[in-house]
Amino acid sequence: MPLRQSRQPDDAYVVEIGFHDLGVTKADLEIRLGYEAGRAPEPFGGMIDEVLAEAPGRLGIQAGYRLVPLSRPADKRDGLLIGGPFFRTGTIVAGEFARADEAAVFACTIGPSLETWASDLTGDGEPALGFVVDSAASEFAERTAAVLHDGVAAFMRERGRGVTNRYSPGYCTWDVGEQRTLFSLLPDGFCGIRLTESALMVPVKSVSGIIGTGKSVERRDYRCDRCGVEECVWRAVRTKKKSETTDKRG
């Protein structure tokens, strides 16, 4: 089923995403916790079932983006002009956006409820279930960003445009502090997310970033081999599963 989006003032769009759009399975959560698919021992398998049963009622997914002009200045190759301000994204991200002339600045969240549930469980002497809930919430948040990305790609296709991969402040040498400038491009309180002084999004299970769009833009796989961030989580994931082509970053 194609996603529905509604247009807001200033070229902003709100995209409707529900639990089933995320397509998260028990096996996904087992793998996330460290087990092999179908092999989580009890009671952890049962805990995953419980979380998957509860999640639809607890998820408060909000997602959206705003389209703004984008360009790569000739004299500053390590960044991009996005909707006015210059972002020092690093050359890897800037290079990926070379053919894009517009950016979808996006943000999404699954809301605070799962986070609070995990915290309460941990405080109430149920740390293992709390951990399972927290891990599932992270999976839902990552998937929300991926589904939003697919949605933006589909909307752009209708206009004869392609999209790049998505990139988030805090990844690929892009300073997470620039999140503040990124949020200045979005309407106030967009998707119910607020930023703390240290650029932390609240609710915590939220993702922000940019997707480039343009007539001759193509989505390519991430190029971890070109990045110098040795300790990055995605480098580790990609080295382990070389065949993986889906993008989950940010």
């Binding site: 915290s119 941990t122 405080g123 002497g125 709390g130 703390t196």
Partner: protein, 220 residues
Amino acid sequence: MSELVEQLTMCIERGKINAAAPYPADLRGREGADELTARALRESVGPDAVLAACNEGMRRIGERFGRNEVFVPELLMAAKAMKAVMAHLRPFFQSGSVKAKGSFILGTVAGDLHDIGKNLVAMVVEGNGWEVVDLGVDCKPQKFVDAVKAHPGCTVGLSALLTTTMANMEKIVKEIKEQFPEVRVIVGGAPLSADAAAKMGADGYGADPQGAVAFLNSTT
């Protein structure tokens, strides 16, 4: 007697809390850490011996975690079984006849609201016989300084989620080291590394709760 102690060690390692607990499935209906501790104390196994048996259980599960044979959920079940034992041992700690290994002051640094990682560390460290003083989230340097003053001989653990809050972490490490150079500080959290820890002047870095335990045990 030694069989009882060995059983207790096994219950901690396997996270068997009490007879009613369904986990692990193969021990269903059998006595757990709760009943075995009560029985051990009744049968005059000293609280020190009970604690030693449990610490051995936590050490074993920690080792299996290090070998990727079990994961964080199993570690947490063991910590929960340990909590049941601690409820029996509390009077001995209060009277001073049994001593905690020491106190561990733990908090998420200023600007950071992320607590699940820190809470997991707290749980496992406590399960390993340390008194944990959890300062919560968004902790300013003064909060750590006050807590260190109130717990002489303590070790401090700091947690952070983002590189932006790592700057605050560095300030806290510096503040503690300036006022209490002898206090050992370990840092952890997703954006940290051993390198980053050394650069900010911390004594150690832990990638997971077991890392905190190894650090604490190495300093006693």
